[in-house]
């Protein structure tokens, strides 16, 4: 996967975004992995007596302890799960040190995730928010609707500030059954709101994956000379000499990232740094490989 797939113009077109998602996901599936999200929703059905040859892993040890009888636990067939893709569409996502902004990267990431879930016949919902939820695509497990999803993603234009707490509250309300919530954002909001949102999601039984989308310039602050910084979300402009404050800025920023990661760990969510300077495939496959390693849902 090369960066050429992240052509901002291409991402602005739904069809191209779909092709991109397919290429990335198919590229991933070609390997030894099957599906990273398989077997998520498993429900208990009944007991039956143990017979020779049964897998003792399914033996109900509690029944054995109480009644000294051997019973095997039986489950319902694995059911489809719902992946709630939550994409931050605030103005701060419009930053990019090149023409590739965080928003472009986030859209591509969301498209890939949606395609990946749909292709394994699971369901997705897509939520685009800034100060409130701007776009919401209802649950669908129809792969044929992928074009609709892509077009909505591509057509979205971010203009407002961020209110991630509210967005997460909406999702927790809308997600009736347990599923996976995939949050794609730069989290340029107060960490307290994010914490509150995460708390709600966890209470509603959702597994949460956080994709923290950041530009390399935000991570390294490599500016030299005098610069005037214009806030994307209406903040006052700042004129400074970045070289003089680089270390302090990076210290602040690293602390911010650490806080976000801390919140994720607090609610047993996966934290994934999505550096827009790296290829999308690298970011995605890196995480999926990690997920495959730690097991289902990370639990």
């Amino acid at each position: 996967m090369s960066n050429s797939y992240l052509d901002p113009d291409a991402i602005s077109r739904g069809e191209a975004l779909g092709i991109l998602a397919r290429t990335v996901v198919e590229g991933y599936r070609v390997g030894e992995h099957k599906s990273p999200f398989r077997g998520f929703a498993i429900e208990f059905a009944q007991h039956r007596e143990y017979t020779a040859g049964d897998d003792i892993r399914h033996l109900d040890w509690k029944v054995l302890g109480r009644s000294d009888r051997y019973y095997i636990k039986q489950y319902e067939q694995d059911t489809n799960f719902v992946a709630h893709i939550v994409l931050d569409g605030s103005s701060s996502m419009n930053y990019g040190h090149t023409s590739l902004t965080k928003m472009h990267f986030a859209k591509a990431l969301a498209a890939c995730l949606a395609y990946l879930v749909l292709i394994q016949r699971d369901a997705i919902t897509l939520s685009l928010f800034d100060t409130e939820t701007r776009e919401y695509i209802q649950r669908t497990d129809n792969l044929g609707k992928i074009h609709h999803v892509m077009n909505r993603l591509a057509a979205f234009d971010s203009t407002n500030a961020t209110a991630i707490g509210k967005a997460l509250e909406d999702i927790s309300r809308k997600a009736r059954s347990r599923g996976i919530v995939m949050i794609i954002s730069d989290f340029m909001d107060t960490e307290a709101d994010f914490d509150k949102g995460m708390q709600r999601l966890r209470f509603s039984g959702q597994e949460v994956i956080v994709f923290h989308v950041l530009d390399p310039y935000e991570l390294t602050f490599p500016f030299t000379g005098s610069w005037r910084f214009l806030g994307l979300e209406g903040e006052d402009e700042i004129k400074t000499s970045p070289a003089d404050i680089r270390k302090a800025y990076l210290k602040n920023f690293d602390a911010f990232r650490a806080r976000i990661r801390g919140i994720c760990e607090k609610y047993q969510a996966h934290y994934v740094l999505a550096d827009t300077g790296k290829p999308l495939a690298e970011v995605l496959s890196g995480y999926l490989a990690f997920r495959g390693m730690v097991g289902k849902g990370g639990r």
Binding site: S226, L230, E233, E235, A243, D244, A248, F253
Partner: protein
Amino acid sequence: MNFLFPGVLIGMAAVGIPVVIHMLNKFRVQRTQWAAMRFLQDTVQTNKRRLQIEDLLLLLLRCALVALLVLAFAQPVWERLIDGSGGSGGGPVTAVVLLDNSMSMSQSNGVETRFQLAKKEIQKWLESADPNSMAALYLVSDRAVPMVARPSNDFTLLRRNVELAEVSERGSDLCEGLRAAYQALRSFTANRCEIIIYTDSQTPAWARLDEMRKLQAANPHVKVRPVVLGAGGEANLAITDLRPEGGVPAVNQPCRLQIAVSNYGTATVEGVRVTISIDGNPPSDETVLPKIEPGATVSVNLFAHFVTAGYHSVTASIPPDRLARDNTRVTAVQVVDHVRVLIGEGSPEKQPVDQDGYFLANALAPISSDRMGRYYLQTTSIAMAEVGKKALDTYDLVFLCNPGVLPEATVKALSTYVQQGGSLVIFPGPKTDVNAWNSNAALTELLPATLEGDAGRPIEAKDPVAWQDKRFDHPITTLWNDSAQGSLSAVRMSKYFRLKVKPELGDQSGAANPRLGGDPSVIARTGGNEPVAVEWPYGTGRVVVFGSTATPQWTNLPLHPAFVAVVQRLVGFLNRQQAARLVLRPGETFEVPVSMDLLGKDFSAVTPREKDRRVAGRIDVNNGKATLRFRDTSATGAYQLFLGDETTPLAVFGVQTDPAESDVRQMEKASVDAFAEGPKPGDAAATSTASTPSDRSAPTPSPAAATAAKPRYEVGREYWTLLIWVAAIVVIVETVLAHRFSRSL
């Protein structure tokens, strides 16, 4: 405080450059949109004050750097008011130390020499000098040798060089050292400038005091401080002269050596034993001088006998005293087997007694005819017309008696012969046509005097003209200053040619004509002070011309008892002049032509310092001739040069110190003090370009002297080096801070 280049201060406007750059940087702002404004805002607000302070600090450092550089280039100096004497006292000084290392500095007081005392004094001065002082070190004898050529603050180097310094065997001339010192100080104006002369202040060292004063007047900002070592009135007995006298040093012939012993002490010395030895052997002759008065020089003759021909060294010695180096003196003598003399006669057809060279030949070989074959002086008489056809270079001397008109070829042959080292003696006679001679340019150039007659004929005196009685000043005739040796006043001339001596050329002789070797010298004069015999060097040889005949025809000289002595001394003098190159001053190069067969061969040397033979060089070509050349003649004594493994030296020569060096009497203290004080207003001798006695009385002081006498501001210290160092530190600090500030937040 002042500036040497105040105009440079205009550059102080450049201090604004960092401010302008700072402002331009502030205005040259790039713009970007930014998402993480929250963190940027926090960072900027937290560090705003510190950033401002750092910015200001860096700006100030940059401005200070520019200001420091401008100040450094303007060369700020600290000035202080001093009197006209040149200033002295504490504080840093830029000094040139002149250490007299002439031979006289080895005079001992019984414990240590003057040179050792001087070295101690210099070490003391180095210890007490201001740490910011700088000093150069020169060894001064009759030349100035730089040990540390330019003033340096590396006193360790100076101390080491002082320790390594050695006394030379050269003469003294403080003027040379002073000149070198002023040259060394020429570009130093920062500190007080001083020349410190550590010397025994012997009188000959101040011989060019007038010239030294002129140098002093031309450099009034430099203080001259003589430090006199040793006490006045110390005793010293020295051999101040040693030379062969009389005839030619020949095998088995007694060779007279004249030895002069001088007493430079303040007490009479009695019973001085003087010895001579040949080739380093035990003394072969000696005498005792009964008494030498203070300041007096006594000459004594001792005789040496040489049994082999060739080069020999002769050493004269007196008992050792506290200046040991002048208690022996060495000369070298080239002893010959034979001296071949050619006599050209104008009238060879006459009876022997009437022949023009008859008396001369007898005077040259004053022995019976049966012993003539064994005598060292071999004479050959030929007709004048044959002279030009002879191979003259096979003869050591050529006499021309009563020559007539000399053909061009003969004149040319004679000129070449003399140029190549031969000796020519001319006795005119009746056949001599002075008009023809004077119109012959080549012959006129050859002769030391022009012969003038009475309308081309000899001057006929009514009363015979007598030779002078006393006050002879030529080595050939000085013998007759002693009345015990007889008198030449009985020599009379009835006819003669007047000798018009050629004007002295002085130092220009070589420049005027490379063939001219020096000025003419009068051997003898008439009672009326007219020259009757004149000689001069021509090329590497000599020409002697008499005013009258070598026969009794015009003068009674040939019949006078002194004639044999005059002729023998003449031959001896001419021979010694060729041998004069065998005695050198320290540092002179010894050169002697040798056979072309020896070209390219190595030669070894035994020197006064190294008694073992060592390879010293190779015989090379000089002016088309194979030449033996030896340069390392710094020590006095005998030098022997050998070819290969031969035991007989190829050449021997002696190096003698300047006899004036033995005069350890010191310059009057008042004169030295007056010199140390520097030129005063009205001291015309020190400031005018002329140095004649009349100039000294000139009342008007020169501007330089007036400046030197008035109180004036003297540059005490320059700060430009300090400023450069501070600027360098500022650069480092600025770089470190800028680097630190950009990363430390």
